[in-house]
Every structure is written in C-alpha cells, then in structure tokens.
Amino acid sequence: MIERPETVVPSIAQRNLEGYVGFANLPNQVYRKSVKRGFEFTLMVVGESGLGKSTLINSLFLTDLYSKDYPGPSQRIKKTVQVEQSKVLIKEGGVQLTLTIVDTPGFGDAVDNSNCWQPVINYIDSKCEDFLNAESRVNRRSMPDNRVHCCLYFIAPSGHGLKPLDIEFMKRLHDKVNVIPLIAKADTLTPEECQLFKKQIMKEIQEHKIKIYEFPDTEDDEDNKLIRKIKEKMPLAVVGSNVVIEVNGKKVRGRQYPWGVAEVENGEHCDFTVLRNMLIRTHMQDLKDVTNNVHYENYRSKKLAAVTCNGVDNTKTKGQLTKSPLAQMEEERREHVMKMKKMEAEMEQVFEMKVKEKKQKLKDSEAELERRHEQMKRNLEAQYKELEEKRRVYEDEKVNWEAQQRILEQQKLDASKTMEKNKKKGKIF
C-alpha cells in the first residue's frame, strides 16, 4: 500500500461564527485561480507493442494524439527501448490541460528484455531531478511540473497470469510512480475468463508485494461505496477504439466483429468508462498529489541523503534526515568544534604533563648535582681540616723540637763554656 502522508491537526481553540464572514467563498477563489493557471498532467503508457496503447490514449482523450501527421511510436520500428513524449494542449469547458503522453516503444519487444525498464526508470528520475533542481534554485520562477503522474501498464490478455517481465517492471517502478495495471485488448476474454484473470493478477500482485495505485478513502460513504466497487474491478480490462460505429441508431466507439460490436464505453463490455472516469474525471488531481507528496519526496530525500552523507555512512539515524543538509552541516560543524575543543584540551593536558615531567627531571638533576657538589665541598673541607691539623701537629712538634734543640744547644754551649773555663783554669790535667 502506498503510504499517504498523514495530516496532523493540533488541538486549537474552536470558535463559532455568529454571522456571515465570507470565507466560505474561498473554494471559489481557489477554483478561479486554478482555472486561470491551467492544468498539467503527464501520463506514461508501458507495454509490449501491439497491445493497443496508442488507440487507448486516443480513446481516453477523444482526440487523435497519434495521427497521420504525428504518427505514434508503434508505427516506427524500434530496436531498443525508447522513451518518447508528446505534448498536447486540450481545452474543455474553460479548463485548459497540458497533457504529456510518454510512450515506451520497444518495451518488452526484444528477445532479451533484461533491463528494458531502465530507460523508463531513467526518464522518471530525470523528470524528478529537473523538478528538484528547479525547486532548489535561488531564483525560482514558475516550475513546470513534468513529472510522470501516472503509469498505465498494459498486461497482455493471456488469461493466465502475469509474465515475469510484468512482475519485474512493476516491482521496480511502484516506488517511483503511480502504477495502474490494465488488461489490454480485453475483448479477447470472455467475462468469466476476465474475472479469473483479474483474480489471478491481483493475487500475484499481492504475493510480490507490488504497490499499485490505491484509491484514497473519502469521508463520504457514498463515494466510498463507489470506490470499493472500482477496487473490486482492478485491474481494469480495457478496449480502445478510434472508430465510430452505429449501433441501434447510436453512434458509439467500438470494434466491429462479424459477431457483434464490442463497445468501448459500455460498462458490460469492458472497464474503459471506469478507467476514464477514475483517471480523468475523479482522481487526476489525486494522482498528481500522490506523485508530489509521496514519490517525489521519496526521490528527493534519497537524493539529498546521498549528498549529505556522501553515501559513506549508512547507519545515520532517522533523526538526522529531518534536517536540511545545511542544518546538518551546521550540526556537524558544532560537533567538530566540540571535538576540537576536547582535542585541544587533551593535547594541552599532555603538553603540561610532559613539561612538568621534564621540569621535574631538571630539578632532580639540579638537586643531585648540588648534593654532589656539597659533598665534594665538604670532603675538601674535611681534607683541609685534616691538613691543618697535621700542620699544627707538625708545627707544634717543630717548635718543641726546636725549643729542645735550643736547650740542648744551650746546654752544649754552657758545657763547652764550662770546659773552656775549666781548661783555662787549668783543671786540665
């Protein structure tokens, strides 16, 4: 199921009007302005050639989109899948519609159809990209909406089930565009076969979890009943025709067979009217809204997320996606500033510590040297003292000895003097 965006209405004070105010005229104002602006719609048709795509378009819009002058792509033989667009301007009841039909000739026609959906995807993406760029310009002017609003996928009326190509295509595109599967050339199926076929297809669609376009529920019960009826008829089996045939006096569009006329606009013959009413008369605006609010937003958020995260970190939390890329950068900047501050603080810390260490070492070594110096000094002083002591001892000894010597000398001198005297006195014998 395609998720539609929720409209959240906060609780706000209610006030009752006591008289005429006039804003009930707002819808008329909106009506007026929209008519003045005109409308645009882009419809894409995809399917193998020969399924009656061009005819159906002509039948839907009651015009010769593809005519002799502007031949449809089916008239031209394609070797590879092309994507071609034709733009027409149609007016009705004062309302102007710029209709773009995107055709995909060559789809599914090759022998090897791998990747034949790629040009289609590329086209859809490129239109979204154009819109994204236009929307993101600094100078925005009126932005033409060329995005694909609806993709009609034609299923061949085999009566059995979906082909692998069908499944593959729808699986790849259901996230990018509103896919409406149609059973083409339904006049080859009887009503019972058609019913079975439809059931089978829906079963397979559900099995493969393919999200086809869902009609929104309205608040009106009557409308809801109708919608449920339509849902039961999905996928719609259509028949297209450009030829007007007279049946019972009435001119109708149909296909003439020997056994009768398959009327295009007869609800019992095929679901064409249902398709036309739904596609054009009731849900055209909703298709555009879903494209804008769901598919385009999907594309945009994916694109911008890739830009912001540079595709590196896939673990970003959802919370980060609610910011604009710029706000994200701002936050990253703030984070970085904090990181830098922390880093700075850390580095500062380490620096201080190292400096302290070194200084301490220096101090220690200074203290050590001081100590050694002191020791040596003291050593030296001790030695000095020792020397002094020695000298003093020596000096004392010397003095004593010299004193002694002098006494001895004196004695000797006295003795010799006495002897001399005695000699002189003749005591010499």
């Binding site: 005229n25 707002l26 009731t282 809204d289 910011k323």
Partner: protein
C-alpha cells in the same frame, strides 16, 4: 481564457488538438477544490497598530466571533507579538485562522526599534517554512503554514497625516508582507475630513515609496470590483461587537448620544468593503502573493547569504547535488584546515618549550661545570699545600734525624770525654 496563455503554452512545444467529445477533465478545478476543502485552509493576519485603536474589536467584528484577549495597558516596555490560532467553520469550509497582535506598539518614548520585533516575527515564520522546505525528509503537505498573509496596519484617526512611526514601520514591512492600511476608529472623523485624510495618506505612502497591497485586477471576474476597491484604500473602519436595534433588526453598531454608527452600513464606514476584499474575494490571492512574492524574496536573500548561487562562474547551471557537494567539500576542507592549524600550533609550542627546557638544562650543566672546575682548582691547591707540608715534614724529619745523629755522636763523644774525665778523675 486569455489567448496569450494558450499561445504561451503552445509555444512550449505543446500543440493544440481538438476534442471529439466530452473527455471530462473540466472537473479538474473541482477535484482540486474538493481536495483543498478536505484539507482545510489556513490564514494568518497580523494586526499592527498603537494600543487602543480597536484591533481586537475589529478582528472580532470581522470574523463574527469573540477572540481571546483583554485590552492591554500602555505600559509595555517593548513591542511583543502575541499570536492565537482558532479553528473556524463556515458551511463546509474549515479555516485555521491565526491572529497576531502587536502588543505595546507605539507606547514607548523611544519608538525607534518598534518595527524590529515585527520584522523579526515575520522573518521567523519565513525561516520556519524555509527550514521545513530544506529538510531532507519533509512534510510540506501537512505543514501548518504560519507565514503572515495579510498585515492590517491601523492608522490613528488624527485626520491630518501619517505619523512618522507609521511611515517607518510600513516601509520596513512592505517587502515582507501584504500591507493593507486601514483608518481605525473612523467614527471620529467626519466624511469630508475623511476624504482629505485618505488622499493625504495615499500621497504620503506614494511619495515615501511604500508598497501597499493592491487587489489584483488580472482576473476578469473580479477585476472590476477590485479596481474600484483599490481606489477606496485605505479603508476607514469601525468595529463593534455590540448590537443595537435599528428598525426591527439587531445590527452591530456603536451608540452615541447623537446617533448610531452602524458597522455594516456602507455609508457609515468601509467595514463591509474590507470584509469583502480581505475575506470573500481576495483571501486566496493574499496567500498566493505571500508565497510567490514575499516568501520567495526572503528565500532568495537567505540562500544568497549562505553562498548559494544558481550558476557557476561559467554560467552553467548548478545542479542541486553539485551545489550541496561543493558546499560540503568546502565545509570539510574548512574543518580539516582548522584541525591542521591546531595541530601545527601545538607542534610549535612543543618545539618552543623543548628549546626552552634545553636552554635551562644547558645552563644548569654549565653552572655545574663551573663549580666542578672551581672544585678542581681547590683540590689542586689543597694537593699543593699537602705536598708542601709533606716536603716540610720530610725536611724536618731529616733535620731531626740528622740532629739526633749528631747528638748521639756528641753524646757518645761527650760520653767518652766524660768517661775519660771521670776516668781521669778517678785516677
């Protein structure tokens, strides 16, 4: 349908083709309208005017209901904006109406900054929308639009001219919001004075280059009425929520001793014109103008401020991805540069500190080398002294030994002499 429109569209590569029957897309406007009605509408009005000019009363009268609020006093220190949101419903149309009132406007002695809070408020609403629009995962569809769609500027009914505060404020606001000037409490002015007053106001606005909101005249269905109304600007209004019986009807009016001023009487005041223009005819246009003109201008200025451009120097258009990537690279580069710078700074500091410490170490070593040398010298001196002492000691020893030897000899000799003497004596 203007033929120019068709030509323009056809010129875009679309060829006009005739239809062979009724296709049914003429229901598109209805589809669109239905969706809008289901979604609900929203409208935001800003009332700017001095205290006491009847702003709240006029809102009540316009929307036929009682909004919040008590009359404010004149003693507000600055201008603040109070906004209230209400849900109204008329027939099947739901309207989320936000009324923003300027509280304290014109009450201060110095009114130079009065307009600032108003401009900030308006910008803040634009900013909120812009942020939402720029988000990666956004919900514009259900976003409650708070941008101001219309600004009713209340002019005091002096009868002379606009006050300079009015001119200054309106000039600041005219590029940001649709301004609809109204003469408030116009039951204080007589008809002839009013005519002159209106002319004076309009000419002052024109001469000062103030762009007020003009009702659009490009849509044929409303062009006529709009252009007529444009000539009646500014609307002179009277507001009242009280009802007075006139004839056999209860009408909103103000009762004076000399008569009753009926609010909805077009001869008495322009209230009905205001209501018609503001709500019934041009509400959607006011919203559109706000979005396509005022908001776009704000957005453009803001993005340019942030450095976004539409084309690179070679005039090739930038894709969004390129722009964002470029910005991101620039941003990352900046961050890296900052990191580098810080690292460099630290490396530098480390180097410097290392050099410092090395110096200190060197000095220390030098000091100790010097001390060592000193010590060496001292030691040498000591050694020398020791040596000299030792020499002296040796000499002394020698002397002593020599002397002793002599003494011994002398003693011996003396001893023998003495012996001899003694012997001789004995003999």
């Amino acid at each position: 349908m203007a033929s120019t429109e068709i030509a323009r569209q056809a010129g875009e590569g679309a060829r006009a083709v005739p239809l062979a029957g009724h296709v049914g897309f003429d229901s598109m406007p209805d589809q669109l309208v239905n969706k809008s009605v289901n979604h609900g509408f929203c409208f935001n009005i800003l009332c700017v005017g001095e205290t006491g000019l009847g702003k709240s009363t006029l809102m009540d009268t316009l929307f036929n209901t009682k909004f919040e609020g008590e009359p404010t006093q004149h003693n507000q220190p600055g201008v603040t904006l109070k906004s209230n949101t209400y849900e109204l419903q008329e027939s099947n149309v739901r309207l989320k109406l936000t009324v923003v009132n300027t509280v304290g406007f014109g009450d201060q002695i110095n009114k130079e900054d009065s307009y600032k809070s108003i401009v900030e408020f308006i910008d803040a609403q634009f900013e909120a929308y812009l942020q939402e629009e720029l988000k990666i995962k956004r919900t514009l569809h259900s976003y409650h639009d708070t941008r101001i769609h219309a600004c009713l500027y209340f002019i005091a009914p002096t009868g002379h001219s606009l006050k300079s505060l009015d001119l200054v404020t309106m000039k600041k606001l005219d590029s940001k919001v649709n301004i609809i000037p109204i003469v408030a409490k116009s039951d204080a002015i007589s008809k002839s004075e009013l005519a002159k007053f209106k002319i004076k106001i309009t000419s002052e606005l024109v001469s000062n280059g103030v762009q007020i909101y003009q009702f659009p005249t490009d849509d044929e269905s409303v062009a006529e009425i709009n252009s007529t109304m444009n000539s009646h600007l500014p609307f002179a209004v009277v507001g009242s929520t009280e009802e007075v019986k006139i004839g056999n009807k209860m009408v909103k009016a103000r009762q004076y001793p000399w008569g009753t001023v009926q609010v909805e009487n077009e001869n008495h005041c322009d209230f009905v014109k205001l209501r018609e223009m503001l709500i019934r005819v041009n509400m959607e246009d006011l919203r559109e103008q706000t979005h396509t003109r005022h908001y776009e201008l704000y957005r453009r200025c803001k993005l340019e401020e942030m450095g976004f451009k539409d084309t690179d120097p070679d005039s090739k258009p930038f894709s969004l991805q390129e722009t964002y990537e470029a910005k991101r690279n620039e941003f990352m580069g900046e961050l890296q540069k900052k990191e580098e710078e810080m690292r460099q700074m630290f490396v530098q500091r480390v180097k410097e500190k290392e050099a410092e410490l090395k110096e200190a170490e060197k000095e220390l070593h030098e000091k100790f080398d010097r001390l060592k040398k000193l010590h060496q010298d001292e030691k040498k001196k000591l050694e020398d002294k020791k040596k000299s002492l030792d020499d002296e000691l040796n000499m002394f020893k020698q002397k002593k030994t020599a002397a002793e030897l002599l003494q011994n000899q002398a003693q011996q000799a003396g001893g023998s002499t003495t012996l001899k003497r003694d012997k001789e004596r004995k003999n």
